[in-house]
Symmetry: C2
């Protein structure tokens, strides 16, 4: 299908840019001897997960079990990490079922989660690998200190049906604290080093030390304790990564194509994409930058969203689009935008677009 | 299925409360001789649209053509209004196709939209009704003044294939300016009166004067020019309507059931619903109130969301939930939350839950 035939708002993927982004991260990881375990929450696409595996990824990361149930089909014996403290009975049984098919690991920060997973693994006749989630400054999940990580690992080590495979951290606070990146990387390295030393002294396995997200991905070699990284956003990028200084606008591979549907209010035009397309997610490094970046009219400010409308302040524009014109928005946060689409449109040679399903859309549990 | 068997996070609908909300609005509209044309963007459910029609609704409102293509099946000859300036070729042909089956109207604020719809109607051999969108203070869409409304209506009146059926307004700014409600209602009444008088003097049809949204719905009789109202949120309500003073917490019929998945960080617990479940939408009448209201722990503050995590500040709580416990959140904005779900769960007699599809989910165009 051609661009002008696809009803707006739709999400367009620049296939060449995706391949460049996938290759660049794979090359970086290989150069530094790091395992690359891309987080599939960004794209939720089997096709793209396969492209990442073909480029050398050691396995895949998922947030929820439902995503794992989709991504297990990405390849024969795909190695899956659920980067989420899955502990309730509605999840643990499903994880054990997946563990019968392939290598499954889960990041945990409580003995209760380990026990629940062990019980499910035991009932299914399998084992599940666990990584101990250590907080490195975000304060979301993860035990507070390396000593707590050791204590939890030792307690889990006495539980059958699960095995401690190493450590896990997520420095997600970097997204909105880009200027403190160096400090945070040092802190992460110190805490991991301390935990590793405690694990070693107590004979615990720490074969995997899993970290990283897109903002710090290309600085991962500065945290030599890491054995693998889990970036997600890098395949597409968005205004968070651009304004955070982590990539250029020409590395953004995903954009929302919208139509101008109203210009009745002076100094403004209105697009057919609102919070049900762009989400209300603010740009973390610059909260006053509006609801995304309008490629063709870079001086326009996407000032306000309703569910299905974007009100664009055109007061600083030298030219404004016509009614019915199509324009392109790089969103603030691509992961949540992809999550709203049943399918996205990939550019093809010759200017055509190909529809591909967002396979794990709606897999919230 | 029972509550404890449905994987979290899931969206639970209190069926009794929905019926009460539907009946209350229907009774109000009937008492004041107002047509009720519920906006289906909130629920996107054929079942609920039928319940609204059975309770006396004169027709249905949709935001996008794709929603109309679903809702046209709600009843034989259902009367549909697209409350959206649909003007591009990807939409107008589909509207004309719907107009062959049922009564279709579209709100417009440009001659170009009217001409595009007329061309599509002409090609299909049908007609489309138009309502002139008049801005009453929100500054989103709508012509700026009653004189502009008259001019647009007169210009459209000369175009074949479409007919002017009346006026349209949307006082959406009331959501975050609750204290100025009276002033805004008066202003709406004045502007509509002026437009009606201009229409009458020029022999234009203004049989329909369509307005209203949930916040002001029960004050609609204070704008005597209105012939019909289009509330959407009232079927479920949310923290916007509660904190705006438009309903009580016991009139909220939709909530997100979540599981506590971590309590490793002191003073905090973490739930398995983030922006991919609750959205980033802030509570418009109280932007500092967090990301929804936790029913069982009303002193808890849902302070921060990631895509799949809610970090809950428990520092003001006398009791905190256990790991694995299920809790219930009334979200800030229910319309965008429903839009994330492929299906929602309706309470049934005896404590069971019934899964029902969100029929128009993802119909963004």
């Amino acid at each position: 299908m051609h661009n002008s035939d696809v009803p707006t708002p739709y999400l367009r993927i620049d296939t060449d840019r995706v391949h460049r982004n996938v290759a660049r991260m794979a090359t970086y990881a290989a150069k530094h001897g790091l395992g690359l375990r891309p987080h599939t929450k960004t794209h939720k696409s089997l096709w793209l997960a396969r492209a990442q595996l073909n480029a050398g990824a050691v396995g895949l990361t998922v947030a929820k079990v439902g995503e794992g149930e989709v991504m297990v089909d990405a390849a024969e014996d795909v190695d899956l990490l659920i980067a989420y403290p899955a502990l309730d009975p509605a999840r643990t049984g499903r994880i054990a079922k997946l563990a019968l098919r392939t290598t499954m690991r889960v990041a945990v920060d409580s003995l209760q989660a380990a026990q629940a997973l062990a019980a499910a693994a035991g009932a299914a006749g399998t084992t599940i690998g666990l990584l101990i989630d250590l907080d490195v400054g975000m304060g979301r999940t993860g035990v507070p200190s390396p000593t707590d990580a050791l204590e939890l690992a030792l307690a889990i080590d006495r539980v059958g049906g699960v095995r401690v495979d190493g450590l896990f951290c997520y420095p997600g606070h970097i997204w909105d604290q880009a200027e403190q990146q160096d400090k945070s990387l040092n802190r992460t390295a110190e805490r991991l080093e301390e935990a590793i030393s405690l694990f070693d002294r107590n004979g615990l396995d720490r074969g995997i030390v899993s970290g990283g997200s897109t903002p710090t991905a290309y600085q991962s070699h500065l945290v030599p304790q890491l054995t693998e990284i889990r970036p997600g956003t890098y395949v597409f990028n968005d205004m968070n990564t651009v304004r955070g200084g982590f990539c250029g606008l020409d590395e953004c591979a995903a954009a929302i194509v919208c139509t101008v549907v109203s210009n009745a209010v002076p100094g403004q035009f209105v697009l057919d994409g609102g919070t049900k397309t762009l989400t209300s997610d603010r740009c973390l490094p610059d909260r006053e930058s509006g609801h995304g970046h309008l490629i063709e009219y870079p001086d326009a400010l996407i000032a306000r969203l309703s569910e299905e409308h974007a009100q664009v302040d055109a007061s600083r524009c030298t030219a404004v689009p016509m009614l019915g014109e199509r324009v392109t928005i790089v969103p603030n946060h691509i992961c949540t935008c992809v999550n709203l689409q049943d399918a996205v449109w990939w550019t093809q040679p010759g200017g055509q677009l190909k529809r591909m399903a967002v396979d794990a859309r709606g897999r919230l549990s």
